[in-house]
Each structure stands twice: as C-alpha cells, then as structure tokens.
Assembly symmetry: C2
C-alpha cells in the first residue's frame, strides 16, 4: 500500500494547431451508428489540424521545481508513461509521488490529439506496427514466429526484462502513425514550452529527437532533458545544448540490432559536437553499469522504477529553476 | 483555491480487443521522420483491434460506492469530461472531488484506444466533423458563416451557454470517427463492466446509447445510468432497465433542430416501454425546470458544475452497492 497522492490540481488543455478550410467536397447523408437517425455530413468548412493534447497533474508543493514534460516515442501515445502493460506503476506515477508537476502529451496525430483525414500532412496511408515488427524494432528479440507467449519467449534476447506475458497487452497502446507530420509536432512542442517552460523534458525515442530540436528552437525554455534511447540528435551544431544538461539512457542489445548501432553513433557524434560547444551531457549505458537485459521500452520493464530513480537522482543534481508554468491560462488561443 | 485532491491511486489499462493477422502485404522501407534512419516496415503479422483505453482515479475512501464510468459521445474522446475548452473544471473533476472513483474511457477507435488501418471495421473513410457542422449538430445554433467569434455569436441560439470564444479550442478535441465499429465498442464496454461493475455509467450522446445496450448485455453490472442527451435508447423492450435507475438530462432548443425532436421521441418511447417493465426513469428536461440555453454539450457549458450537482444529487438518492471493481487486475488478458 503506497501513501496517497495529494494533488493541488489536475486537468488538460490543447496546444492549438491551426484551422484549415475545405471547400467543394460533396455533402453526404450518413447513419453513424446502427439504428441511428440519419445525419447530413457536410465536409466543407473549418477543421482543426495539429493541435496537441496535454494532461497535467500538480502535486501540492511542486512549484519549487520546473514541470516535467513527458514526450512519448513513435507509434505510441502518452499512455507509455502510465501503468505498465502488466499493471505496475509507470514513470508518471514515480515522478508524481516524488513531488514533480507532470504534463503528459499525446503528440500531434497520436491518441487524443486526433488527426485530420483531409489534410495533406495525413495524405500517406497510416501505418500501424505489427506485434512482430514491434518486438524487433523495440529490440526485445528476433522476429517471433507467432504471437504466442511460447514464441515470444523463444525469440526474446537473453535476460529480456520486458514482461513478455503482457506484450500482447502492450500492443493495445500502439497507435497509427504518419511520416509527414514533423513540422506540426515541432510547432506544437514549441507552443507547449512557451506556456509551461522552462521545463524538464523526459522523452523516449522519437520524442527525444523532438526534445533536442525543441531546445534548439526555444532557447531558455528547456531546463534539462532526460533522453531515453533518443532516435536522433538535433539538427544544429549542438550549441543550443550549452545551457541544457542532458542525460541519455541506453538499454541493452544495441549491437544485435540492424539499426541501433548506426542510430546511436549518429547521436553520439552530435553529443560530441555539443560538448565542444560547452554542453553537459551524461550518457548512461545501462549494460556498462551492470544493468543488463533492457530493451528500447525500458520505461515499462521489470526494473522501470529503479531506472526512474536513476533519472530522478540525476535531475536532483542539476540546478533547475522554480516553475513559471502557466497552468491556468485559458486554452482558447 | 480548491482543497487538494487526495487519490489512493490512479492508473490506466486497456480492455483487450482481439488480434488479427495480416498476410501477403508488401514489405516497405520507410523513413519515419525527417533525417531518420530508414526502417523496414513489414505489415504482415499480428495487430490489435478493438481494445479500449481506460484511465482511472480513485479518491481515498471511494470504495463505499460503485465507480463512475464516463462514456463520451460520438466524434469525441474522454477529454470531454476533463477541463472545459475555456479552462474550467469538467464533470470528472466535480465527481472526483465529491469522492467517487472515476474511470474515463476513450471508446474503441477514438483517442488513445487507437484504430487499425487494415481492419475491415475501418474500411470506410474516416469522418472528421467541421466546426460549422459541430456547431449545428451539437445544437449551439444555426450554421455559422465563418469560424470567427463574431460569426459564432451571430449564429448562436438565444442565451447559448457554451463559452463561444472557446469553440475553436473545443474543436481540438473532436476526433475522426467511423460508422461500422459498434460491435467492437459494445464488446469492449461489456469487458469493462465485467472488470469494474457493478458501476454507474455517466454517458453522453452516443455513449448513452451504448450504456443502454450495455445494460441489456451485462445484467447485474450496471448500477445506474446518467444519460446526458442520449442519442438512442436500447434495442430490447426495456425490461433490462427494471433494476437500473436512469436519469436522462436534456438541454434546450431541441425543437429548433432537424433531428433532435425525432431522436428524443424515439428514446422517450423506449423509456415508456421500460417503465411498463418496471424501470425507474427520471427525465430531467432542463428548460422545463427553468434552466435555459444549454446545448448538446451541456457538460462543458457555463453552468456545468450546477448540472453535475443535479446528477450527483440524483445519484445520492439511489440505492447503490459498494464497489467490487477489480482495479488492480493485470491487464495482460
């Protein structure tokens, strides 16, 4: 039995995207649910594109530190930080109970942020990862021959820390993705930092790549970055990180993967450039510290609380500003 | 300043849907984000279809009453119950502070529940409501000539209680929908009731139509229903409601709408049949109680807290069982 979580407030808002106009499309009459009364659907008019959903939780006393912004990875939503697929507390729970104000986003196009079927950013077919592809790309093991627990156990890398019996449940949180929405996502992240920054970004995979670019785009608004297996570095020379301490965490079995040695080498190269510019970047390679068996999904594996504690201890050593987040601002902008 | 919210626990899980197999589709190599390392995407394999996301909040002491399940309406997600588009507390906040355990779903296909581009349930093009269509269908007024505040004010029905300056912000929470997913949605709702019931369902519009059908399908699992502007009644003779007290709430301006007089007459007919079978159904027509100006979106309008209080008072008069919800069960089923 853990102690109660005492929240001063919780709520949600959207970072606005933009409005687009559709004209000249045919009007239809549809029945939207079995037995429903037919409704006239006119697709002509104004729709919202590129808004981003933000859910926040503010423990009592959290104003003394900047908020943590949780940015999930590709094919995922903010659910990644909540309860694990096998029903244990996730990183969100850990940091809330440690007294941090936390804001969890669903990136543009994902989850509650929605998407816009008629907008050009979404013209390519939506891609939904299979269980087999996820198992390989998220570096749990080789391609399983079936979606059974037996087959997953056979395919898993030695010592895999993902709770394999819950891998089918993990697949429930995998959402469709598109490949042409980076500009929308980055604009929304800049809007979020404008409202809640300076903030600490805790980011996973594609979310970490967005975090580095956001630090380049929004100077003074990023207080620190915890990058869990970043998918990319930034796009500049790294000078933007001179005042932004970074902790990068990597799990196990990178060398077994077709892409990860290349991904990490590129990111390490960008880190080297950033260090030359004065950046303070700590790379925590878990296996080299004796923590073995973690995959790309380390935030939900069987040692996820211990890994959250490592990140929290690192954050406690950084000099961070008090919160100046505008939680209460009306979101009607 | 409100008093803190003291939670024993919060978390999330998915009600499982089913797994489907794809075979014979071409394998592609894609770059998923600008500058990313190319990745081989094999669409063949297993994907999850029809799972439903559930986020729950359990105030200390909430076990003495059944949980409230919040089921949103069509084109929307669970966000509808959270902070209002103009940044005030929503019904979720109200009922949590009144001490109820609350579980908010994103229905199948909506929000964090995701969708499955290759599944037949999603074969029809996704439909995203425009601002103009939403304004009319949600009964705020006639079709506005533009998406400006001036045009919205001109088009609004007299005394409209929706905070019109936040209507563009409301559009951020409107998500795409499909018309062939009722079977998936109903199966997921039955799974939710199996885990958390007996429960009170607080449902809006299409969600209320699902609630009545869920009561038919899951006897003994629905303790009461608060139906906010139900889109339909049930499909049986109403006998399933004999032990399920219902409060139906209706806003204003139904007679001005092309569809709502017909929708309400059908539902009232089903209620009459249910009453013959012994059901206890209270219909609260807000204008006839002197509460005027509410639209279909009354849960987020300027009197939303007073309306939540009406529903809470009604619930306090019902005989409800203690909670027997299985919050902690592993979701790996």
């Amino acid at each position: 039995m853990t102690s109660p979580l005492v929240l001063a407030d919780f709520g949600s808002f959207f970072v606005p995207g933009h409005l687009v106009e559709t004209t000249g499309a045919p009007v239809e009459t549809m029945v939207l649910a079995a037995g429903g009364v037919p409704v006239r659907i006119d697709p002509n008019g104004t729709t919202s594109v590129g808004a981003m959903y933000v859910q926040y939780f503010r423990p009592v006393g959290s104003e003394r530190r900047p908020p943590l912004l949780f940015w999930h990875g590709g094919s995922m939503s903010g659910v990644a930080w909540e309860s694990t697929p096998d029903g244990r507390p996730g990183w969100l729970d850990y940091f809330l109970r440690a007294g941090w104000a936390c804001a969890v986003v669903d990136a543009v196009e994902r989850g509650r942020s929605g998407w816009a079927p008629r907008d050009a950013h979404f013209a390519a077919p939506a891609m939904l990862r299979t269980l087999q592809d996820s198992f390989v790309q998220f570096r749990l093991g080789t391609r399983p021959r079936a979606a059974t627990l037996e087959a997953l156990r056979e395919a898993a890398y030695p010592g895999c820390r993902f709770p394999l019996e819950a891998f089918p449940a993990f697949m429930h949180q995998v959402v469709p993705r598109w490949s042409d929405t980076d500009d929308l996502a980055l604009a929304a992240y800049a809007g979020l930092l404008e409202r809640l920054g300076p903030a600490v970004i805790v980011a996973h995979s594609q979310g970490a790549a967005y975090a580095f670019r956001a630090a380049e785009r929004s100077p003074g608004k990023v207080a620190a970055i915890v990058a869990v297996e970043p998918a990319q570095g930034g796009t500049s020379d790294g000078a933007a990180l001179a005042d932004v301490p970074v902790l990068a965490l990597y799990g196990d079995h990178l060398a077994r993967d077709a892409r990860w040695p290349h991904i990490r080498a590129r990111t390490d190269g960008w880190f080297a450039s950033a260090r030359t510019a004065g950046a303070n970047i700590d790379v925590l390679d878990l296996p080299s510290r004796g923590i073995v068996g973690n995959s790309h999904l380390l935030i939900m594996e069987n040692n996820n609380a211990a890994l959250a504690a490592l990140a929290a201890e690192w954050l406690d050593r950084q000099r961070l500003p008090r919160s100046s987040a505008q939680w209460e601002r009306s979101s009607n902008a």
